[in-house]
């Protein structure tokens, strides 16, 4: 009996994060259904869902999601690698940091979305423009957090590594990089948010495919259900990438007391 209630309780607490979104959906559907929210202002969740099924059937939805995800991932990979490498170089070689850090800080302080007019002038509305913007937005959080992570590795551990003859690459592989990893992953989570934000703006302003294009196109025909669908898609994709980042944290930071409480194969002594 006791165990049953505890199991129920645990299941209830696992569902806890979903109560508010579900309640919002229910109220929204109710208010729309009885006509308090006019259809021209906001279609009901049911209508949005129906629009989603229609688009799914003719393949437009899948295509839009694929195009947008591809842009996001390529931009993230390019910007993330550059940011990580710069952070690594600047964290490891002081001369390099002196040389590049203030330049990077200057560029970092330009809102990257302010570059849109310039980027359109350079690349038009092709793929390159969006990938460039995403890469630029993603670069800095990863750069900053990698640099910070490398700097904040416990100097005591580095000294220990030196006593035990760890030098050069081995010291980085065994001590510095694992020590910087929690911070790098914070950067990854942060930049995943920026990745979607940048993409939404870029696709809304100038695109010929993708979720943002779908939304803008639907607006011209006043298909508000499709517009709302696009917005919800972004929310879902954002949540999905956050889940992936969290999963990476749990997987790679098993040793960390904060993430690995259950992962440790601890035995009592």
């Amino acid at each position: 009996m006791h165990r049953v209630t505890r199991g129920l309780f645990r299941r209830a607490s696992r569902a806890l994060p979903w109560y508010i979104p579900l309640a919002v959906l229910a109220v929204w559907q109710l208010l729309g259904g009885i006509g308090w929210i006019p259809e021209r202002t906001l279609p009901t969740p049911y209508q949005v869902l129906a629009a989603g099924f229609d688009l799914l059937r003719d393949g437009e939805l899948t295509h839009a999601i694929l195009v947008s995800t591809w842009r996001a991932l390529i931009g993230f990979a390019v910007g993330g690698s550059i940011g990580f490498l710069l952070g690594l170089l600047n964290g490891v070689i002081p001369l390099f940091e002196k040389l590049t850090d203030s330049t990077i800080q200057m560029i970092r302080n330009i809102p990257h979305l302010a570059m849109i007019p310039l980027v359109i002038a350079w690349f038009g509305i092709e793929e390159k423009a969006k990938i460039f913007l995403v890469a630029l937005g993603v670069l800095f959080p990863i750069y900053l957090n990698t640099l910070h992570g490398i700097r904040s590795v416990d100097p005591g551990l580095i000294e220990m590594g030196k006593v035990y003859g760890l030098r050069g690459w081995r010291l980085y592989r065994k001590v510095v990089l694992p020590g910087a990893l929690p911070s790098v992953l914070v950067g990854v989570r942060f930049s995943l948010g920026i990745m979607w934000l940048t993409l939404i703006v870029a696709e809304t302003i100038a695109a010929d495919a993708g979720i943002g294009f779908m939304a803008m196109n639907a607006r011209e025909f006043f298909q508000l259900d499709v517009v709302v669908l696009s917005i919800l898609l972004y929310a879902l994709l954002g949540k999905l990438s956050d889940l992936i980042a969290k999963w990476l944290e749990r997987r790679w930071l098993k040793w960390h007391p904060h993430f690995g409480k259950e992962a440790s194969p601890s035995k009592t002594s």
């Binding site: 000294e159 035990y164 990893l181 040793w255 960390h256 440790s264 601890s266 035995k267 002594s269």
Partner: protein, 299 residues
């Protein structure tokens, strides 16, 4: 805990057998032990060593000669320069002047023969206990490195925790893992920078016994910095007192092992404590005459 310690004692024999199989000197009797001590320990020679940080002298004119296999404790008030001395011997820092030799060769950085135990365990939190010990293995293939690390863990009685993360261990267990990591490479000189300072009294005594046992059986030279005079008397062949960057006292502890807290023990303890407590402004006795005699309260 006590049973874990006894287990550790048994494991010492296993470990030695293992080394024997690996072609090292068997330990047949006391004589063999002593001769092995001569071989496996490293001598340390310091002459006129001084160290200053930013113009501020921390150590001045240190002259110290440590025999092979000797256990030397360095005591002193905090900030007297005793940790700096240890770091110089380790090769972690360079002396400002004077000569430092290990086994007759000038100290030049850290060598794999020398291991250093820090005040904190300094285990890598992202490696398992076993992998942390493996860092101390020198030049072995993965399989035998793992075996050696496991044997060293048995020595300190923690073989059951080999797969755990360091974060789930207690402070004393972490220091035992650090000890296993330090000895797994068969160092000839082991330097301790107050590694037991943060442990509770019981764990401390247990660790002291473990260190003494390992030292007796492995024959390395040991230098231990501590602020605890009774720890120094319990473990060391010789106690060196550092005061304001100079050696103020160099006292051989002529007590038999294993050491009991008897009258002789208390005598040595008081001898050193009295000297520590003498205000620095007073004319200190010369290091060579201080040995074996309490300072005259009227001098």
């Amino acid at each position: 805990m006590a049973s874990a310690f006894r287990q550790g004692g048994l494991a010492v024999k296993d470990f030695l057998n293992l080394n024997e199989a690996a072609g090292e000197t068997p330990l047949a009797d006391e004589e063999a032990r002593l001769s092995q001590k001569q071989e496996s320990g490293m001598s340390v020679e310091l002459d006129g060593v001084a160290k200053s940080f930013g113009g501020k002298p921390v150590l001045q004119n240190i002259r110290l000669s440590i025999r092979r296999g000797e256990f030397v404790a360095v005591v002193g008030r905090s900030g007297c320069g005793k940790s700096t001395l240890l770091r110089l011997i380790a090769g972690l820092d360079n002396a400002s002047s004077g000569t430092l030799e290990r086994d007759g060769k000038p100290v030049d950085g850290i060598s794999p023969d020398t291991r250093f135990m820090f005040q904190e365990a300094r285990l890598l939190p992202w490696n398992s206990v076993l992998d942390n010990v493996r860092i101390g293995v020198v030049g072995s293939d993965a399989k035998s490195a793992k075996r050696k690390a496991y044997a060293a863990l048995e020595l300190v009685g923690l073989q059951d925790r080999a797969g755990d993360w360091p974060s789930v261990l207690s402070g004393g267990q972490r220091q035992r893992v650090a000890l296993a990591r330090a000895i797994v490479g068969n160092p000839r000189l082991l330097l301790f920078d107050e590694p037991l300072g943060a442990l509770d009294a019981l764990t401390r005594i247990e660790m002291q016994r473990l260190i003494e046992q390992l030292w007796l059986q492995r024959g390395f030279t040991a230098v231990m910095v501590t602020h605890d005079v009774s720890e120094a008397v319990a473990l060391a062949d010789r106690v060196v007192l550092i005061e304001e960057g100079r050696i103020a006292m160099d006292l051989p502890v002529t007590l038999a092992r294993p050491r009991e807290r008897d009258n002789g023990f208390v005598h040595f303890e008081r001898l050193i404590l009295d000297r520590v407590m003498t205000p620095a402004g007073r004319p200190a006795e010369r290091a060579d005459t201080a040995a074996g005699r309490a300072p005259d309260p009227l001098s």
